[in-house]
């Protein structure tokens, strides 16, 4: 569905995208994961034909994003990062407006949006500006879906949305995927990576890794321990100062600790912490997450840049 090769885009001095290549097959739920400013929005704008790349080629459904932009705009549903609906129009007015500019009606594709629309229907006469964050996202999704696009491009749909609404939103995306719609979605939340079929990690305009979330997480090159004691703050400091440490990052109530060598065992860590005066020590080997991988890839790149 999407074929991108060696895309580059610069804004003045800043390189927003640096030789990005990517392909997404039809019907996939694909996640682009990275922090703000990594280049996610620029990449999505190129795919949706809103921007012209400086170099490289991008195709959507076999159509070139530069030459065939008219055709592409018919089959893409695009939801920009910012809340991009008319705040002073009601829910219903927004939806019927977006339906009509795609020369369709709400009724025509109602099947597609029904599941989402029923959740916001009670507020259909309320101005869009007065909806809560989660509701706004659902409305924006309805508007992007109303013309039954083949490809849905969602730029950070869950940013600033609370945990419950986020989960509901991902449920909806999975259902849409089952209907055969190709979805590419970007997010700064690493925990959402596991909800995608395949993901690409993006940082400073470069794709660091593209694969299924399991493979990306599993590519973490070291052993990893989840550590917890009575004093979290001191635990972090002590582990970081330890000569055996490669990295120590907080992960919820645990510290994810990566030793510099594979010889370090649970036992050694335990002894070290006891010596430092910690109590209630828990040390367990743990499976790395996408976030662990992301951080390790980030560090690797920083070290490369430094040397």
């Amino acid at each position: 569905m999407i074929q991108i090769s060696n895309i580059e885009k610069r804004f003045g001095e800043v390189t927003a995208l640096n030789k990005v290549s990517l392909s997404v097959p039809r019907g996939e739920l694909f996640g682009l994961i990275g922090p703000d400013g990594a280049g996610k929005t620029t990449l999505f704008r190129i795919i949706s034909s809103l921007m012209i790349p400086d170099a490289g080629e991008a195709k959507v459904a076999g159509l070139d994003v530069v030459k065939d932009y008219v055709a592409i705009r018919r089959l893409v549903g695009y939801m920009p990062g910012r809340f991009s609906l008319y705040q002073d129009l009601s829910v219903l007015e927004n939806l019927s407006f977006f339906a009509s500019i795609f020369k369709t009606t709400i009724d025509e594709n109602y099947d597609l949006i029904r599941d989402i629309y029923v959740q916001i229907e009670p507020f259909k006469h309320r101005p869009a500006g007065k909806l809560s964050g989660g509701m706004k996202q659902k409305l924006a999704l309805c508007c992007a879906l109303v013309h039954k696009p083949e490809l849905l491009i969602l730029d950070e749909p869950t940013t600033g949305v609370d945990a419950v609404s986020r989960i509901e939103f991902w449920d909806i995306l999975r259902r849409l995927k089952d209907l055969g719609i190709t979805i590419i979605v970007s997010t700064p939340y690493m925990d959402e990576a596991s909800l995608c079929e395949r993901i690409a990690l993006i940082q400073e305009g470069r794709l660091m890794s593209i694969d299924t979330p399991e493979v990306v997480a599993g590519s973490f090159p070291h052993s990893l321990f989840a550590v917890k004691t009575n004093n979290f703050f001191l635990l972090l400091n002590h582990l970081r100062e330890w000569k055996e440490a490669l990295s120590a990052y907080s992960f919820g109530e645990y510290v994810h600790f990566t030793p510099g060598t594979e010889q370090i065992t649970e036992r050694a860590i335990c002894d070290f912490l006891k010596e430092k005066g910690h109590t209630e020590i828990q040390v367990n080997k743990t499976k790395p997450t996408v976030e662990d991988s992301f951080m390790s890839l980030m560090l690797k790149k920083q070290n490369q840049n430094a040397s």
Partner: protein, 244 residues
């Protein structure tokens, strides 16, 4: 010292109504000095409203609130001097240098030239950014900006700092460095009042309050909350509470 003197924020039966809509329904909680207090809730649960009241930007409909020992109804000016505020949206002036931003915000709070200078030195060295004092903000990476924004928010040595989703959209390493910064300052006695949508960050708080539909549904340490609801992570606790 009586226990109440250690309480830096005391809220009793706080109610805030907008017309018929009750945004905050009899909130009662307190925050101790040096505590990291997580203020969670779904969008529209009433967090922002409560935070505005605590910052002295809005008056409650009824209830008793003191912040840093000052009354929210009559001493808002004193409250504003004893708090710092930072949000994802509120940031630094992009076209000023790092030092000019510090000087500006220091000036707002009436710090003397020498105080501004010494505070800037301390805060920048804490971030390892002393060499970047004269760089224009917009040339710096997002993660640095967030950390600088935090430092600017505490330049006048407030007793409490309010952080409204400070880590939204930040990369995972910077996000953790940001929390290191919070920890370091809390350790030195700063009280931190924070909202976030990252549930792993909720675990880093000393205590959490979770708001649902204008009411505080749960308030305890992360461990106790997980215990009470029989959940493995805060994410599950949050979903459990928000869904019912």
């Amino acid at each position: 010292m009586p226990a109440s003197q250690n309480k830096i924020i005391v809220v009793e039966n706080l109610v805030k109504k907008f017309g018929n809509f009750i945004a905050n329904d009899h909130l009662s909680f307190d925050v101790s000095k040096g505590e990291i207090f997580g203020f969670l809730g779904a969008n529209g649960a009433g967090k922002t409203t409560a935070m505005k009241i605590l910052c002295g930007l809005s008056h409650p409909t009824s209830g008793k609130v003191t912040v840093a020992g000052y009354d929210i109804y009559t001493q808002t000016e004193k409250i504003k001097r004893s708090i710092g505020y930072m949000s994802q949206k509120f940031s630094l002036y992009e076209d000023l240098t790092v030092y000019e931003n510090f000087r500006f915000y220091g000036g707002i709070y009436g710090l003397s030239r020498s105080e501004i200078h010494s505070q800037t030195e301390i805060l920048l060295s804490q971030l390892d950014l002393s060499d970047y004092k004269n760089r224009v903000i917009k040339t710096l990476p997002l993660g640095w900006k967030q950390k600088l924004a935090f430092s600017v928010a505490i330049i006048h040595k407030p007793a409490i700092v309010f952080l409204d989703e400070p880590t939204g959209g930040v990369d995972p390493i910077t996000r953790r460095q940001f929390w290191d910064l919070i920890y370091k300052n809390a350790y030195q006695g700063l009280t931190v009042f924070i909202t976030t949508h990252y549930m792993d960050e909720a675990e880093y708080c000393n205590r959490l309050s979770i708001m649902v539909d204008g009411k505080i549904k749960a308030l305890d340490t992360p461990a106790a909350l997980k215990n009470r609801f029989g959940c493995a992570t805060m994410q599950e606790v949050f979903l459990e509470l928000a869904r019912n």
